[in-house]
Structure formats: structure tokens, C-alpha cells
């Protein structure tokens, strides 16, 4: 008997306007404790998928269950409060709020008075944020903003962390840091769904992966298996 998936996406269709059919029946599962990645080229529908899961977009068809509960059609803030955190593509920190205020917003719905452990944890993961608490988020570098966006999401103590292209536009050293932290967060008990164009890094960090092409899942397997798949090697890893 297998345990039911923490996140269960079934036959999801999402259409922009009336014409652009961005998701065409996507199904995917993330089990508790996993790091799962979805790789795909620009325009494959990765962002659309995450946005549909977190309730920013409404699907035309299909269903999403989180922790056994149907979340399709629920408003974004309710889904977030269930423990599903979504770090959007392009970070989207609140530019005119300070670093500390951004983190506070991450914990917005938590009722505990004392969040100092959570702040300490975030500052331990990302020391640079601790040194810049009072700085406006809009003035941080791209890498720092990515760290802030991730730290902010962790302030909610999520069960599932969805990351949309965390390595986009960052220098290789910063990408290393980000992926180290993703693994560490996962070891600390947070399940991760990672969406990336950077297939190599994503597959290295993950236990399983899906390949998304023009709105459809074309492959799914263990990350190692995908790494040695001829088609994946050629199309996504740039190898022969």
C-alpha cells in the first residue's frame, strides 16, 4: 500500500483567454518528503501549472488535491494557509517593504506571538538576509531577492514548497547556494516541487522528475533514469 500523495494533480487543463491552451491534461504527484522537479523549455507551461495549483489561475478541467483535500477553486490565500507555499517566478518580493517586513508577511496568517525561532532559522540559512533586515527588498540583488523569496515562504512553515525557476538569472555560485539550501530544507522535512529550465541542476537535486512539453507531461521517472534517457540528454542536458 502506498501512502496517498501530498500533492495530487489530476488531468489539469488551463486555458488563457479562450484560445491559449497552456495545460492539456497534466497529472503529477508529489509524495511527502520528496524533491520532485518538472523540467521543460520556456513556454512549456511550468509556471502555469504552479499558478493553477496555488489558485492564482483557475483550471478549465481537472482537480488538485493537497494533503487529501480538494483545493481546486479555492482562493489563493486559503490554499496558502493550508501549508502550500509558492515562490513565484521572478521572486516577487515586496519591493517597498524591508527584508524583515517581507519575512513577517510570509508568516502573516500564523497566530503564534513569538516567531523568533523562524527568523533565526531563515537568517541561519541565508546569513545575508540577517545583515540586511532593514534594507528595502527592491534594492537587493537578484540572488538576495531569491533568498528572501524562499525565506519568506519558509516563514509560513509550509508542508510543500513550490519553487518556480529559483536559479533563473543567477550567477553559478549563487545557484549552488540556492540548490544546497533546497536540499537542506528538504532534509528538515519540507517537501519540494521544483520547476526549472536548468534541467541538469534540477535533476541532480531531485529524486523524481517530470518532463513537460507544450502543456503535456511526456516523461516521468526517477531523476537518475531521466538523466540517462537519450531524449532528455539531447533535448535538456545538451549532451549526446
Amino acid at each position: 500500500m502506498t501512502e496517498p500523495a501530498l500533492l495530487d494533480i489530476q488531468g489539469l487543463h488551463t486555458v488563457y483567454g479562450k484560445k491559449i491552451h497552456a495545460l492539456k491534461g497534466v497529472s503529477a504527484q508529489v509524495r511527502s518528503g520528496e524533491i520532485v522537479c518538472i523540467i521543460g523549455n520556456n513556454g512549456a507551461g511550468k509556471t502555469t501549472l504552479l499558478k493553477t495549483v496555488s489558485g492564482v489561475l483557475q483550471p478549465d478541467k481537472g482537480a488538485v488535491r493537497f494533503a487529501g483535500e480538494a483545493i481546486t477553486g479555492q482562493p489563493t490565500h486559503r490554499i496558502a494557509r493550508m501549508g502550500l507555499a509558492h515562490v513565484p517566478e521572478g521572486r516577487h518580493v515586496f519591493p517597498r517593504l524591508s527584508v524583515a517586513e517581507n519575512l513577517e508577511m510570509g508568516a502573516y496568517f500564523r497566530t503564534e506571538r513569538d516567531l523568533s525561532k523562524d527568523y533565526d532559522h531563515v537568517f541561519e540559512l541565508f546569513p545575508v538576509l540577517g545583515r540586511r533586515k532593514a534594507q528595502l527588498a527592491g534594492t537587493l540583488s537578484g540572488g538576495e531577492q531569491q533568498m528572501l523569496a524562499m525565506g519568506r515562504a519558509l516563514m509560513a512553515r509550509p508542508r510543500l514548497l513550490m519553487l518556480d525557476e529559483p536559479s533563473m538569472g543567477l550567477a553559478p555560485v549563487v545557484v549552488d547556494t540556492i540548490f544546497d539550501i533546497i536540499r537542506r530544507i528538504n532534509k528538515e522535512g519540507v517537501t519540494v516541487l521544483l520547476v526549472e529550465q536548468n534541467a541538469k541542476r534540477a535533476l541532480q537535486a531531485s529524486s523524481r522528475g517530470y518532463v513537460l512539453e507544450t502543456g503535456e507531461i511526456v516523461l516521468e521517472d526517477k531523476a537518475e533514469t531521466l538523466c540517462s534517457d537519450a531524449k532528455v540528454r539531447k533535448a535538456y542536458l545538451g549532451l549526446q
Binding site: 482562493p75 507555499a85 519591493p95 510570509g106 496568517f109 509560513a156
Partner: protein, 299 residues
């Protein structure tokens, strides 16, 4: 003379600033101009009048009466603004940009006509909540009404500042104004924050309505129009969406208007022309207003 005009300008400016905050708060979060705001302010002043007519006992002359009048008018105007948002703007949130704008013009006309038809077609004298006394500070004649007006406005602005900067909900308002969609991902119910923004903006408008009535002594169904347009101008001048900008713009406009009236021959006929010319001039130099500089998000 100069000091005198400055006092007059600061008084007028404090009213403009309060109203401008209502425009800017709503714009900051929804990127729409709430043209009904001028009527919200007018209704606010009528709330105080109604309380005075039907329950004069709770509005004694003096600071207590003034505070009661302010609180009730702020509550009335704030709630009215929330109701307007709920029924006239929220259903249009995903419609094209122009739709809520047109809707707000509609609401404005409806409110003005409702007061015109059901309340009063002419000027009604406003209760003298504060006894008008004149005294002189450094040669400038100042009335008690002016002092009360400035003190109330500044007190409210300080309250707003504390709320926006230091409370969790206030920070959520700023977060929503930065990025509504992402605020939702933080578990912030953006519809509630929007409603709260209309409540706060409307309440400040209501307070401005009372201060207006207090200063001019009478109110009328169409009193909101001119201060509304001026305060909107002030908000744009300061940088629409920027809270400090609204306050700054309000005071600049108020002072400019009074100075023009005082120093330029037949200036009081020209003061509006001068005020709007300055607006156009500033916007040509700085299209985003004096403080309207957005920190770009780095990607």
C-alpha cells in the same frame, strides 16, 4: 502678511492632504481612481450634521463634541466607501481598466443626487462644534478653527502613519499595494485588505468633510467636487499611490492656492488656474509626481 497666508495655506492644505490620502490609498492597491471619493467626503460632513440635528446632546461644543463628530463621520464615510467597493468596484475587478472608473463616476452622480433629492438642495449651516476665536501668533491672525483643523488633520495623518508602518495589517496593506497577487500567496486575503483600504481612505475623507464644514460654516450636496478635484490633483502632484506624496502634494497645493490669492492681483480669480498650471508644469518635468518613484523589482 506672509505668515498669515502661510497659516491659511496650511489649513487648506491639511484638508487637501486628508482627502488626497483617500485617492492615493485606493490607487496604490487597485490602480484605479475612486471618483466617488469626493462624495464620500460630502456624505461624511452630512453625517455630522444629521447627528447634530437628531441627537444634539452627543455633540456638545468643544473638543468632546468635535471628536464624537469626527468619529461618527469617519465611521459613516468609511463604511459607505466599503459598500461602494463591494457593490460597484469588486464585481468589475477583472473587467477592463476603464470599467471601475466609469462605475465610480456613476456612484458619484448617484450619491450627489441622493443627497440633493432626499436631504437638502441648498446650503445647510454646519454646527459650531468649536467656538471661533481669533488670536495672533507672531503677527498672523489665527482662528481656533484653523488650529483645530490642522491639529486634527496632523493627528490623523500620524495615526495613519503608525498604522501603515508598524502594524501587521498595515504592512499587509503595503504588501498588497506592492503586489496583490503575491500577497495572496502569503495567505493574505486581498479582498479584505482592499475593503480595509477603502474603510481607511473613506474615514479620512469623512474627517475632511467635518473639518471642511467647520471651517466654511456650511455644507451642500455638491461640496465635495472642488476639494475632490484639488485633492486628486494634490495626490498626482505628490506621486499618486505614494502616501507621503499625497500629504506633501496637499500642503503644496493648499499653500500655493492661498499665496496666489494673496499676492497676485485678482489672484483669487486665478488661483485655480495657477494651481493647475503648476500641476501641469511639475508633471511635464516629473511625470510620476514629486515622490512617485517606484523601486523597480530586479529579476
Amino acid at each position: 502678511m506672509f505668515l498669515q497666508q502661510l497659516v491659511n495655506g496650511l489649513t487648506l492644505g491639511s484638508i487637501y492632504s486628508l482627502i488626497a490620502l483617500g485617492y492615493t490609498l485606493v490607487y496604490g492597491i487597485l490602480v484605479m481612481i475612486n471618483f466617488a471619493h469626493s462624495e464620500v467626503l460630502m456624505v461624511g460632513s452630512f453625517v455630522a450634521l444629521a447627528v447634530f440635528r437628531f441627537a444634539p446632546a452627543i455633540l456638545p461644543q468643544g473638543p468632546v463634541g468635535l471628536i464624537v463628530a469626527l468619529v461618527l463621520s469617519m465611521a459613516g464615510a468609511g463604511v459607505l466607501n466599503v459598500v461602494i467597493e463591494r457593490f460597484a468596484y469588486r464585481p468589475l475587478r477583472h473587467a477592463q481598466k476603464l470599467a471601475p472608473l466609469i462605475s465610480s463616476i456613476g456612484v458619484s452622480i448617484v450619491l450627489q443626487n441622493a443627497v440633493f433629492l432626499w436631504v437638502s438642495t441648498q446650503s445647510e449651516s454646519f454646527p459650531e462644534l468649536i467656538a471661533a476665536t481669533q488670536f495672533s501668533i507672531g503677527g498672523a491672525g489665527v482662528s481656533s478653527l484653523q488650529l483645530v483643523c490642522m491639529a486634527s488633520a496632523i493627528g490623523l495623518m500620524m495615526g495613519l502613519h503608525f498604522f501603515i508602518e508598524h502594524t501587521k495589517v498595515g504592512k499587509a496593506m503595503r504588501a498588497c499595494s506592492d503586489d496583490l497577487e503575491t500577497a495572496g500567496l502569503m495567505g493574505i486575503d486581498s479582498s479584505r485588505i482592499i475593503a480595509l483600504t477603502f474603510l481607511v481612505g473613506g474615514a479620512l475623507g469623512g474627517a475632511a468633510g467635518v473639518l471642511y464644514g467647520l471651517n466654511y460654516g456650511s455644507i451642500k450636496y455638491n461640496l465635495g467636487f472642488l476639494p475632490g478635484v484639488k485633492a486628486f490633483t494634490a495626490a498626482v502632484l505628490g506621486g499618486i499611490g505614494n502616501i507621503r506624496g499625497a500629504v506633501l502634494g496637499g500642503f503644496i497645493l493648499g499653500i500655493m492656492e492661498v499665496m496666489a490669492a494673496g499676492y497676485i492681483p485678482r489672484g483669487s480669480d486665478w488661483k485655480d488656474v495657477i494651481a493647475f498650471s503648476v500641476l501641469i508644469f511639475v508633471l511635464l518635468l516629473r511625470p510620476s509626481g514629486i515622490l512617485g518613484e517606484k523601486i523597480a523589482e530586479k529579476v
